[in-house]
């Protein structure tokens, strides 16, 4: 009824109607996507990351070569048509091993990020909504974890728990779960502090107060009003956490504490290559570049998201 005739009090004149109709499609997330596309490096990185992810997922079908086919006649060869990225000291095809290793590295990165963000959100949200002792205790635990030296802790945990977990979940699955758990379990603190800070400021906002005045429960205030507005910076931290987890997995593999030595990951291939840097530099160069490009791309995407999700920044 009043749809066609604008109410006299509303400020939208007939002339503004077409523009308004166009703007109607732009939710805050649409708006963020529009701003993200303006960030050239981030967009370029997103394409690069998509290609890498697509490559490791579809790779085995496009390049059906076994990862453990030993051929001493072709050992330590540089790139050729038969082996586009060369071979290692056992004559195994590097392209196939890096495709397989990429799956593991990226899966570890994403899974560890999910673990870290989940615990970060949980701890941060509880601390941010409660005040006094609960908040103080949770932040005390967070600070405790932050002050632990990470690498020695990782080594210790893996040393202690590798065998029992392996017994339950199998060699590869056990290693995956353990690595994701230790990386995620030592990286949730920054997310927790960020979420807490966001919650502390958001819960005093007038729109949350309005929800309280309407009788919204605590859970509703969090789920409907506080969390959606706190997510922007958390998403940025999440992308950076993926990159950090990939590096952490590479470090563990490099030290021989990651996956079993016959399972290639980008980090373990790099470790195996270190003894042949002078005669077969390609062996280290390719996994190193893949880690480098992936991590850099993810960090650029994080930058782009930060700018796109910050409404104060004009883009």
């Amino acid at each position: 009824m009043a749809g066609s005739t604008p109410a006299s009090l509303s400020a939208s004149a007939p002339a503004a109607a077409p523009a308004a109709r166009k703007a109607q499609r732009f939710s805050p997330w649409h708006e963020a996507w529009r701003r993200f596309r303006r960030h050239k490096m981030a967009l370029f990185s997103a394409v690069a990351l998509f290609l890498i992810v697509f490559g490791v997922l579809a790779g085995p079908f496009l390049w059906p070569v076994a990862i453990n086919e030993i051929d001493f006649a072709a050992k330590l060869q540089g790139p050729s048509w038969a082996h586009p990225l060369g071979t290692d000291d056992l004559g195994q095809d590097l392209l196939a091993r890096l495709i397989y290793g990429g799956r593991i590295s990226i899966a570890v990165g994403v899974a560890a990020m999910v673990v870290a963000i989940f615990f970060g959100l949980l701890v941060g949200a509880i601390a941010g909504m409660s005040s006094g002792r609960v908040d103080a205790a949770l932040m005390w635990v967070t600070d405790l974890f932050l002050s632990l030296p990470q690498l020695p802790l990782l080594l210790l945990v893996i040393y202690l728990f590798r065998e029992p977990v392996k017994g339950v979940l199998g060699v590869e699955g056990g290693a995956f779960v353990l690595i994701v758990a230790v990386i995620g379990g030592t990286r949730w603190m920054s997310a927790a502090r960020l979420v807490r800070a966001q919650f502390l400021s958001l819960r005093e906002k007038e729109f949350v107060e309005a929800a309280r005045a309407l009788g919204a429960s605590k859970l509703r205030q969090v789920v409907q009003h506080i969390l959606p507005n706190a997510l922007g910076p958390v998403i940025v931290v999440a992308t950076i956490d993926i990159a950090a987890a990939i590096i952490a997995e590479s470090t563990l593999s490099f030290l021989g504490l990651g996956f079993p030595s016959d399972v290639p990951t980008w980090g373990s291939v790099l470790r195996d290559a270190k003894d042949y840097l002078d005669i077969a530099p390609h062996w280290a160069l390719f996994p190193g570049s893949l880690i480098f490009i992936t991590v850099l791309a993810i960090n650029f995407i994080g930058d782009g998201l930060r700018d796109a999700l910050d409404p104060r920044r004009v883009l």
Binding site: F26, P28, E206, N229
Partner: protein, 338 residues
């Protein structure tokens, strides 16, 4: 500092009906913690013994400088902030003693409109979701269609279009956002609306529109307003009675016209002399107050206003004045004015 035994009401002679809202000796002290053990080292006396009544259907304007406790009073009445002490009687029940369920029911009858139209709407929700939230919380509708119909009805009530419900707050101007905030408050069909400086953040031309809307709504739905503002001309226009606050206390309550014509309290006089007159030929004596508003952490002893009062006498710093009915319906807290 004793609470006034009788409190200022509008109907002084024929007290037939009970007031919709009675506030008695309301206090809110914010603790300032410090030191290693974070002990309470000081208290901000934001609201320091406020009492007033609001009759159904009237508008009580509350004015005062920023930091005098106007907004805190409004939020304490709704228990958005827990008061330190005092009583708030709403429709015959003490809000301060309500349990969760009673408070929840009370929120259907008492709502608030906020000052900042930008901070008071969740940027991630559509207008329909914002206005419809109260309907979902209180289960006032039983289908999606009914929810949508009600939201459309509310949007039209405040002068917005039905298709606005699918848009987001950032697509609206300040005045439109304030209308959305009003629609949200109206969704539960409240009896009392606390307006916390609802027009202070708007352009003057938009202010008039929103004020007129509030007046229309009052007539249409029989609303009662507690209208907080620092702009005296806005308050004069909309209020039945006006309460003047200074440093957490009410210093004067009177019918709007009477307060403007014959203020009793020297602070009200000074405030009124600062209102611009849109006629350059009219000359008026401007009362300039000396000094700043004292620190509410250590408010002055006795009468809070004695440090800046032009007629203060030595004993004003000793004795704390209570609100007295100096003229019929006109209450003021001053030892030396009648």
């Amino acid at each position: 500092m004793s609470a006034p035994v009788s409190a200022p009401t509008a109907a002084s002679a024929a007290d037939t009906a009970k007031p919709l809202l009675s506030v008695r000796d309301l206090r809110k002290h914010f603790a300032i913690r410090g030191g290693i053990l974070s002990r309470v080292v000081d208290k901000v006396h934001a609201v320091d013994g406020v009492s007033f009544d609001i009759e159904a259907g009237e508008t009580l304007g509350v004015v005062g400088e920023s930091g005098c406790g106007k907004s805190t009073t409004g939020r304490c009445i709704l228990r958005l902030i827990e008061p330190s002490s005092g009583e708030v009687w709403f429709q015959g029940a003490d809000v301060m003693k309500m349990n969760h369920a009673q408070l929840q029911a009370m929120r259907r009858d008492m709502q608030i409109i906020f000052q900042d139209p930008y901070a008071s709407l969740n940027p991630r929700l559509t207008i329909g979701a914002i206005i419809g939230e109260a309907l979902t919380i209180h289960k006032l509708v039983n289908s999606r269609q009914a929810l949508e119909d009600r939201v459309v009805q509310l949007l039209e009530t405040v002068g917005l279009r039905p298709d606005h419900m699918r848009r987001f707050p950032h697509e609206f101007s300040g005045g439109q956002r304030q209308r959305i905030g009003i629609a949200r408050a109206l969704a539960v069909e409240p009896k009392l609306l606390i307006c916390d400086e609802p027009v202070s953040a708007l352009d003057v031309s938009i202010q008039a529109q929103v004020i007129n809307l509030l007046e229309d709504l009052q007539e249409q739905f029989g609303l009662t307003y507690l209208f907080i503002a620092h702009d005296l001309s806005v308050v004069e226009h909309i209020s039945t009675r006006i309460a003047v606050m200074y440093l957490g206390r009410v210093v004067e309550i009177a019918p709007a016209a009477e307060l403007y014509d014959k203020p009793i309290h020297p602070y009200s006089e000074a405030l009124l002399s600062a209102v611009p007159i849109p006629d350059p030929t009219v000359k008026r004596k401007r009362i300039m107050l000396e000094g700043d508003v004292p620190n509410p952490i250590r408010p002055p002893s006795g009468c809070h206003f004695h440090t800046r009062c032009p007629i203060a006498r030595p004993d004003c710093s000793q004795r704390s004045p209570v609100l007295e009915e100096k003229r019929p319906g006109h209450w003021a807290a001053c030892h030396y004015r009648d």
